[in-house]
Symmetry: C2
Subunit: 399 residues, 2 copies
C-alpha cells in the first residue's frame, strides 16, 4: 500500500473560529509562493524594514526594536522574560488564566523569584491586589500581565496597571498575543515596556512569527544587565544587530513567513487599523448577542470582555467534544475547548483577523441552533440569528 | 508619496548558492497556499505523523521523538543543549568553526561548565584531542559536534567520535543542519544521541522549522533530570505530549511551514534519499573541479569536504564583496561570505536541496570566469566549465 505521506495533501477549507490560528486570506497565503531571498539580501532587508514600520503602526509606537521573532507567541513570552530577568530578580505575574500561569512558569525558568497575583478566571487582576504584592518586595524587576487572556476571554485594562508598576519601579511585560490588531494597543501612550504578540490571530497571518516591541526602559535594562541572557536564540541584543543597520547574521530568518506577515500587515494598512479593530468589536457584539439569545452564559465579566475571543459556558448536560466534533464534521467549523481548569467547561470562540466576519457568526449560530437541540438543549430556531442581526444594526447605529 | 510597504512585493528569482536558505521548488511553495488547519485538528495530526515518519527515514532512525521544532536550526541547537544539560554539568564542544563556537556559547548559557577542543578551521577535530579532553573530567554529560561545519565546509566523520564519547559516558549532540538530506546521516547506526537540522538547506523547504531526533539515552536523561529545563518553548518533554498521542497543546505549530516541510520531504521520498545525497555529491564534485581549474584554492581538507557547502579561498587582491555584488547584480546569484575569522577570506558556495543542480554550477563558474578577470585575476575562458563537465562524467563513470 502507498504510504499516505506520498499523496498530495489537500486539507479541507475550515472556518477557523478557535483561539487561533485564524483563517488566512488567500492573498497572504499567495505571498508565501514568492521565491525565497537570502536573509542577507538587500531586497530582503527592505522587506524587514517595511514589516517593522507597519508593526510600529499597529503597536502605536516609535520603538526601534519592534520586530517579528522567529517563533510563535510562546517563544516571544520566553524572549521577554529571558531578556529582562536575571537570576535572583523578583517578578510578579498577574495570573488570571492559563497564559498567566504560563508566564509565571517561564519567569521562574528564567531564574526569577516569581510571585503571582491571582484573580477569579473570568476577571482581570485587581490593581489593588497587585499593589499589595508590589509593596511586599524591596525591588520588583518585572510585572507580567496578559492583556487579552485567550483562556478566559478577559481583557485587562493596561494604563492603570502600567502606571502602578512604574510607580514601584517595575517594568511591565504585556502579552498582546490575542489583542494586537483586534483591540487598541497603545504601546507608547500606555508606556508599556515589553509587548509581544503572534501572527496567527488578529494580524491575519499563519502561525510562526511573534512580533515584539521594546520600550526605552526595557532596552536600557537589557543593555546594562550583568549576566548573559540564558537564551542565545531569543537574545534580543544579538537580534538587534540583525534588524538594525549592522545586518549581522544571527540566525536564518523564516523568509516565507516574513513575506506572509508583510502581506497581512499590508492588508491591515489598506483596511485601516481602527477599522480592523472596529470590525472585531462589531462581530463580537453580534456573537455575544446570539449566544445569549440561546440562553447560554458568557464566562467573562461583561466589563472586561475580549472581542477577538468569547468564552461560552457549556450548559449542564451537554458534552463539550460532542458539540465541537459535530461543528467540525457537519459545518467544517472549528471552535476551541477550555484550557486548564476550564477544560470541558467552556467553549472558546475566536473571531480574529480574517475569521472576524459576520458570515462566520451566522454560520456558527446556525450550527449551534441545529446541534444543541439534538443533544437535549432546546433552542428557539432563528432566535440567535435574529439577536445577532439586531446587535449588528445597533452597533452601526452607535456609529 | 505612497510608502513602499503598500506596494505588492515582487522579489527577483535569485539563484541561491549561499550557505542557506537554498532555492525552494514551486511545489513546496505552493503547498503553503493550502488553507490553514487548527493545530489540534485531526487532519493536521495526520500531517504531523507523516512529517515525522518521513523525517525518521531521512535520519535513518526509529526514534519516536523525531519532530520539527518551531524555530530555525539555531533554536534546535538551543533545544538540544537546554534539555540535556543542567546547571553544573560538564560539556565539551568540538570547535572547528563558527557553529562550534555558537554551540559552546549555548552550552555555557545553559549553565554547563563548557570546555572546547579546537582544531584548525578547515579540518575536523581530531579524536585523539577530544579523548585528551574527555580524560580530564570526572563526568562529561555531553559532547557537541558539528557534523557539517557551514563556516568552513568541513564534514566530521561521526562514528569514531560517537564511539569515543560513549566510552566516556558522554552523550553526543550532533549538528546536522547542513548535512541532513545532503550527506548520509545514520542516527541509529552511528548511535547519535541528539541530532538536529533545519529545513532551508538540503531538505529543500523554506527556513523556519528545525527537525530534531532524540535517541533512547537522551530521552532517559531528559526524563530523569532534576531541574526544570530553562526553556519552556524548547522543553522537549512538553513538546512530546503534543507530538505523541496525547496531543496536548504546547504552542501553536507553524501550520503552513509544516505543509511546506511535508511537501519537501515528499519530494525527497520521490527522488529517493540515496539519490538525493548522490546528487549533492555529484554537483559538489563538478563545482570543486571548476573552482580548482580556475586556480582557486579550497579551504577544507580534501579528506573532509562537505558536499552541500564548498569554501573557496578568496585570491590575493580580490575584494570579497565586489565579486559577490557583481554575481548578484548581473547573474541574480547569491553566494555567501565568510563567518567569524574567515570573513573576507573565503566564499561559501552552497549546493543544497533544490539549488544542488548542475545548471547552477555552470552558471556560477561562468559568472566567476567573467567577473574575476575584470578585477585583475586572469582565467582561461571555459576552462572551469570544461573541468566541471569532466568531473560530472567521471562521477557517473564511478557509478
Amino acid at each position: 500500500m502507498t504510504p499516505s505521506y506520498l499523496n498530495e495533501f489537500k486539507p479541507p477549507q475550515r472556518i477557523l473560529l478557535g483561539p487561533g490560528p485564524s483563517s488566512v486570506h488567500p492573498r497572504v497565503l499567495q505571498a508565501m509562493t514568492q521565491p525565497i531571498l537570502g536573509h542577507l539580501d538587500p531586497q530582503f532587508f527592505q522587506v524587514m524594514d517595511e514589516v517593522c514600520e507597519m508593526l510600529r503602526q499597529v503597536y502605536h509606537t516609535s520603538n526601534f526594536m519592534t520586530v517579528p521573532l522567529s517563533s510563535t507567541g510562546t517563544g516571544a513570552m520566553e524572549a521577554a522574560c529571558a531578556n529582562i530577568l536575571e537570576r535572583g530578580d523578583t517578578a510578579i505575574v498577574c495570573r488570571n488564566g492559563f497564559f498567566g500561569v504560563r508566564l509565571a512558569d517561564i519567569a521562574q525558568r528564567c531564574g526569577a523569584e516569581t510571585f503571582v497575583v491571582d484573580s477569579q478566571w473570568g476577571k482581570p487582576v485587581e490593581p489593588a491586589a497587585l499593589e499589595r504584592e508590589l509593596r511586599k518586595h524591596a525591588k520588583v524587576k518585572m510585572v507580567g500581565v496578559v492583556h487579552g487572556e485567550t483562556s478566559t476571554g478577559v481583557l485587562t485594562p493596561m494604563p492603570e496597571i502600567v502606571e502602578l508598576c512604574h510607580r514601584y519601579g517595575a517594568l511591565v511585560v504585556s502579552d498582546a498575543v490575542t489583542t494586537l490588531g483586534g483591540h487598541d494597543v497603545q504601546m507608547d501612550q500606555w508606556d508599556i515596556d515589553v509587548c509581544y504578540s503572534a501572527t496567527q490571530k488578529c494580524l491575519g497571518a499563519p502561525p510562526g512569527l511573534a512580533p515584539i516591541s521594546l520600550g526605552p526602559r526595557a532596552v536600557e535594562v537589557i543593555k546594562t544587565r550583568e549576566s548573559e541572557v540564558q537564551s542565545f536564540y531569543f537574545n534580543l541584543k544579538g537580534l538587534e544587530s540583525y534588524w538594525n543597520q549592522t545586518r549581522a547574521y544571527h540566525h536564518t530568518t523564516p523568509i516565507s513567513m516574513t513575506y506572509a506577515l508583510r502581506e497581512a500587515l499590508r492588508m491591515m494598512m489598506e483596511e485601516g487599523i481602527d477599522n480592523r479593530i472596529r470590525r472585531h468589536a462589531r462581530v463580537a457584539a453580534a456573537l455575544r448577542a446570539g449566544i445569549q439569545a440561546m440562553g447560554l452564559q458568557l464566562l467573562a465579566d461583561p466589563d472586561y470582555r475580549l472581542n477577538p475571543l468569547t468564552t461560552v459556558v457549556i450548559p449542564q448536560g451537554i458534552e463539550d467534544t460532542a458539540v465541537r466534533k459535530r461543528l467540525m464534521q457537519d459545518y467544517n467549523l472549528e471552535i476551541g475547548g477550555g484550557l486548564g481548569d476550564l477544560r470541558g467547561k467552556v467553549w472558546r470562540i475566536g473571531l480574529m483577523g480574517e475569521s472576524a466576519r459576520e458570515v462566520n457568526v451566522f454560520t456558527l449560530l446556525s450550527g449551534l441552533e441545529q446541534i444543541l437541540p439534538t443533544l437535549g438543549y432546546e433552542v428557539a430556531y432563528g432566535s440567535s440569528l435574529a439577536a445577532a442581526q439586531r446587535a449588528l444594526v445597533e452597533f452601526e447605529g452607535r456609529g
